[in-house]
Symmetry: D3
Subunit: 136 residues, 6 copies
């Protein structure tokens, strides 16, 4: 019997969507107002979901306190109140679209979740736009 | 690496649940107060989810501006502030239950999403009742 | 010490915004797509707030069970799954704008709330549009 | 064509996380403040999802009125305003973690949903922590 | 120019509504299933609102970090994962209705907010029931 | 009879809290991580509330389409996908705290709302922090 345990978290950040190797016209055409050279920002809302068997001793798949601490150390401390393009090494050469951010978050957390558990991450960039990655 | 990109939208509409080929008693038995001959209505809230590979050029699976425009043209303009039974051709002979509406929405959007991407639609009829169709 | 006790409720209804004594052109100019002759509809979400002193015996301003029953009998039973224009007597000659609906709801409930308590009603017509009336 | 129909419900309950066969120190180490001997509590929010083919007669996978009644009789009446450890037989010897509660709810409902339909249950213990079980 | 700054917080707790000086029948009549002798519980969601002039130096009415810390120390640490009747001294002789809880929270915070600022507290006992106290 | 009509809107923006005339140490002490020189950002969610008498002709206090257009032209077009410090003239010399932003929004809208109507603006900087200004 496999149960999914989900925990919500959040961070605020600035970002800009563009490619350094494109002209500004090309960036404007593809990324529109998201290419503002002075940046814009979001309240990113995060759901991290871990699926696995229930430990018969504790009744837990994963202690949500442990899951919450993992998210704090590896995601919130790294991304919160940051400029994703300038302050976060993973996006030095990677365009911080929601799709790329959710994959980076998944990869950072995957290393800390036991291999017999599945991991899925959903990231809300706004209350109306969100992305999901399950490592497939 | 396949990521799901989701976009929320909404429309308001009137509808009535009933079958023309049933007696009013039969319609009342099955559809209860949803068979009010004068119609009732809902704020339908929609989530459209597209799953595909990340374009390495743009970092997008699909530009949410493009997805949002598709939803506007094919769903909102067709359904918003309408009577589903009387104003929307797809429901002239099809009972507009939430299940049938979500399938119609999926079919209308499927034609405009590239075949190598998966499509899933969730439709909230009320904040407490919702349906999901993924074309399977 | 006066405390406000609030209770949420909801109903679904169809309606149409128009005046019988105006031409269709005039109605279209003022009410736009809300003037669809076949009606459209909403999930109306309601918050009813009663302000008064705390009864030292019970610790209640008003028992939320009693408040909830008042809303059910006087509002939900009268409005839910109805066509406001055709099925609800209060709107036979009154345009069912959100403003007019919230005043009608307030008046219907006011008669059943003790005079030494204040009453305020908020009505969400959509998750983005809402109105409030406090009887002033 | 299989569509998923989901219905939300809720109940309030007290509980305590601990094992009778562990020392209080061991319980404190694993369950922390959730091991308060005087109990704490939650507003549990529930989503019950049933997946199946659309009945061509009614346009329903399952009538949400029937689904809502099943949840009321088998879950809300059994759990609402209860102490899960002391008042609910299923947890007399089973630690009422969110994971164990969602499996019990799924099992209680599974008996009443037709075998050709799939069942999934999501349980929010808080607005930030939730679990999902689909019987696999 | 006076601006209101609001901060949300939350705590989980068990409680029981009853009066020790009433018979069990009397308690059942008034408090119904809230009088379960084994307790039930809630996720209490809190909004604390402070109104005052904007400090021209900082642009703040009150630093939300300071407000958040006040709520943590005086409310969350005192109430979270507690049994309000048994573990919280303020309710040893006071029935922990939502009305009484919100007044106690207001009183505990009032002592720590500068006298030239107004304080209002809203407490959600469930997502559908909430109370507000502004000290009047 | 005065009714309040409220409309929600939103914009995304980057900002930084600091005073040019303070040392970086002083800015760090007061504004903490909000003083990141590379900026951070938010999804600002806005509620604009207009209170006035109901026009007996239309049943409206204010047409929400007109209100929505005012918010779009004067607030969303000016603030959305912008860096508040660098791109918005009102904050060239004014620290863009939530308090200062809500006052600026109120002042920009006040000029376009008839003088016999009251105006109140609520601005969510995050889902947990918000501010309200009513021009008093």
């Amino acid at each position: 019997m496999r149960v999914t345990v989900s925990r919500k978290a959040h961070f605020n950040a600035a970002h800009r969507l563009y490619r350094k190797d494109w002209s500004n016209e090309q960036n404007d055409t593809i990324f529109g107002k998201c290419n503002n050279a002075n940046f814009h920002g979001h309240n990113y809302e995060l759901t991290v979901s871990v699926t696995g068997g229930i430990d018969p001793e504790t009744g837990y798949v994963i202690d949500t306190k442990i899951l919450s601490d993992l998210i704090k150390v590896h995601i919130e401390d790294a991304f919160d109140h940051k400029n994703l393009n300038l302050d976060v090494p993973e996006f030095a050469e990677l365009n911080p679209t929601a799709e790329n951010i959710v994959v980076v978050i998944w990869q950072k957390l995957r290393a800390h979740i036991h291999a017999d558990k599945d991991l899925e991450v959903t990231l809300y960039e706004t209350p109306r736009n969100f992305v999901t990655f399950k490592g497939e």
